[in-house]
Symmetry: C2
Subunit: 399 residues, 2 copies
Amino acid sequence: MNKIELKSLLTDGALATPTGRIVRTLSARGALSATQIARLTGLAKSTVSTVLTELRRSDMVVEAGSESAGGVGRPATALTLNPKAGTCIGILIGQTEIQVILADVSHTVLSDRSAYLAPDYSPDTAIEYVRKLIADAYQGQWQGREGLLGVGIAVGGPVNPVTGKMLRAGGMPTWAGADMRELFGPIFDGVPIFCDNESNCAAIAEMTWGAAQGHDDFIVYTLDLGVGGAIVSGGRVLRGIAGGAGEFGHVVLDPNGPPCRCGNRGCLDVYASFREPLAESERHFGRSMRLADVVELALGGDATCRALIERAGEAGGHGLGLIGSVFNPTLVVVSGRLVAAGDMLMRPLAESFERHTLVKHGDVPDTARTILSPSRFSDNGACMGAVGLVLRHHGRLLN
Amino acid sequence: MNKIELKSLLTDGALATPTGRIVRTLSARGALSATQIARLTGLAKSTVSTVLTELRRSDMVVEAGSESAGGVGRPATALTLNPKAGTCIGILIGQTEIQVILADVSHTVLSDRSAYLAPDYSPDTAIEYVRKLIADAYQGQWQGREGLLGVGIAVGGPVNPVTGKMLRAGGMPTWAGADMRELFGPIFDGVPIFCDNESNCAAIAEMTWGAAQGHDDFIVYTLDLGVGGAIVSGGRVLRGIAGGAGEFGHVVLDPNGPPCRCGNRGCLDVYASFREPLAESERHFGRSMRLADVVELALGGDATCRALIERAGEAGGHGLGLIGSVFNPTLVVVSGRLVAAGDMLMRPLAESFERHTLVKHGDVPDTARTILSPSRFSDNGACMGAVGLVLRHHGRLLN
């Protein structure tokens, strides 16, 4: 099987051929049955069958589970792209974290590594860390760099997905004006690079592997040290004219409220982010704490931490109620590291949502109720979404 | 030319044939050139040319301007459906108004009549008024009832566009549980009836004839005695799982604020609707006032009314800023009767929007700035949108 061939099927205008459409669909979705492929591509079953026979003969497509394309619960007849056919890299450039995931085209994660940095690190520092994390990722893999099909970068600030340039200052002032392709291009030697902000990548992760699989219309609502989110409509992640769609944390509740780090006053983020509760826990315990520590202590029965998380659910529910009145969405995926607290967060969140939104649970039949689902990712899934940027055909087929 | 034939082209699954696609596109868009038709349908120019020749020969399509298909500023070669080919009726069932518009398939309005009622009128009263307004509408027209192709109903409350049944109580408690098709069907004798709420109809009017022509992604933001709106994404009006999308007036700013008529507290509507300013003007002048009176007095130089409108712009801008942070939209069409105040409203609105939204005008290049456009409709255009529900192919082609 020819990697060059797969590359051209994934990157060139190959959607016109049935082979191109099938390869791209497998790349975007992972393991699929022939029936699912026919439904998703709109091709006749006989065409799908002929093309699949050809793709299996050339070893580009294999049965899921064979060739190390493991995974549980897949249908017996599921097919994937041959994991040997190529790899993708996802990179998260977050506020205080750089993460690198190496995955193959069958959607198997080969390596997932992170480095934690102080805020406001420079692009040069980032490049250094990315180089190191990628060298580590390839350690001990039989997959070599020559099979790399594309790189996705999730950025903790507004980035233009077309040009790869940072828009506005956003939450990462040291990256203002940075050109992600120019910065990271030399590491990857001509391999295509795709970018989007981390919330949009989180949404791609949710629709590809997460709680929004099979949904074309949903909202991601992130509760973490910041409040954020993303909007998916008709299978598209809405980006906004200046990359600012889904900035739920920056709706102004009280124009005379406390100043927000965005420059405005009284934003939802001021009331519902976990920054202040985290500081409160540090004052209480007299030591430095991470968000995950608070969640762990709360789950272990600590009343102070439990109260902080319940209050975060209550405050977050106000914001979510507002999102509910704007969208009346079918599905909200609640994301961010607070979700690890499980029901301790979700119950007060759901109750507060119900009180603060227009359409009440009790006023509509079951089928017309908004579903709140916790994310299945332990963080917000953004780095997996960066992998998804590549697998979903470079933003061209499904995004 | 055969009306039966046009009916079947518009209502049956005729999108598979080039003729069906062209007829439906002309119905949705009004006057178009052959080049525009080719672009919108995706058909080859030669196919379009052949079909148009046939349609003109059978008199179903005529040159715009001929056969009373008047209108200014249309391109010389523009074609429309023959106005004789059929008519549509749009009905607005508003909080205090019933409106009926009769239009032909070339998009010419033949009659536009309203009746004003006290709030909480009954469906029986509405039927009586609609019968009378429709009889008046046909008076003196050469178009008879036999050419009626469809009826669109814009409702001032949440209605299921598929079933035609009212959802939840919403703003029209006397209509709870009403079935619009059952109620109005007998007037129209089997003609198809299409429904949507008035904000969604306003959005259809804006994209068909208004400030959002040529836009597939925009927000309608309505400032009137209530605050509301609609969301259009990828050419679809978002409806929400329980018909509650776009209820911008019911985002809760302050959970401890004054009670809202929706049952929650501190909704945007409490602060930014024109109900309280209108009451204030009535106290000031010591007489009953309509919203239009306040606008007229303000435009005539009255300082009190001017201040009320400027304050409404300021309060509305807070809400719009919030919508801006959620969507970072390309275009917002500002709608509702306050828009008649022109710059007196739009200037403070734009200034307040800028202060209350995340992405500031000055932080992004021209091409990345949200555009605020006043609606061209003197009310919110909902009744024209009801006509649009029919013309846009019964919600099937473009919505």
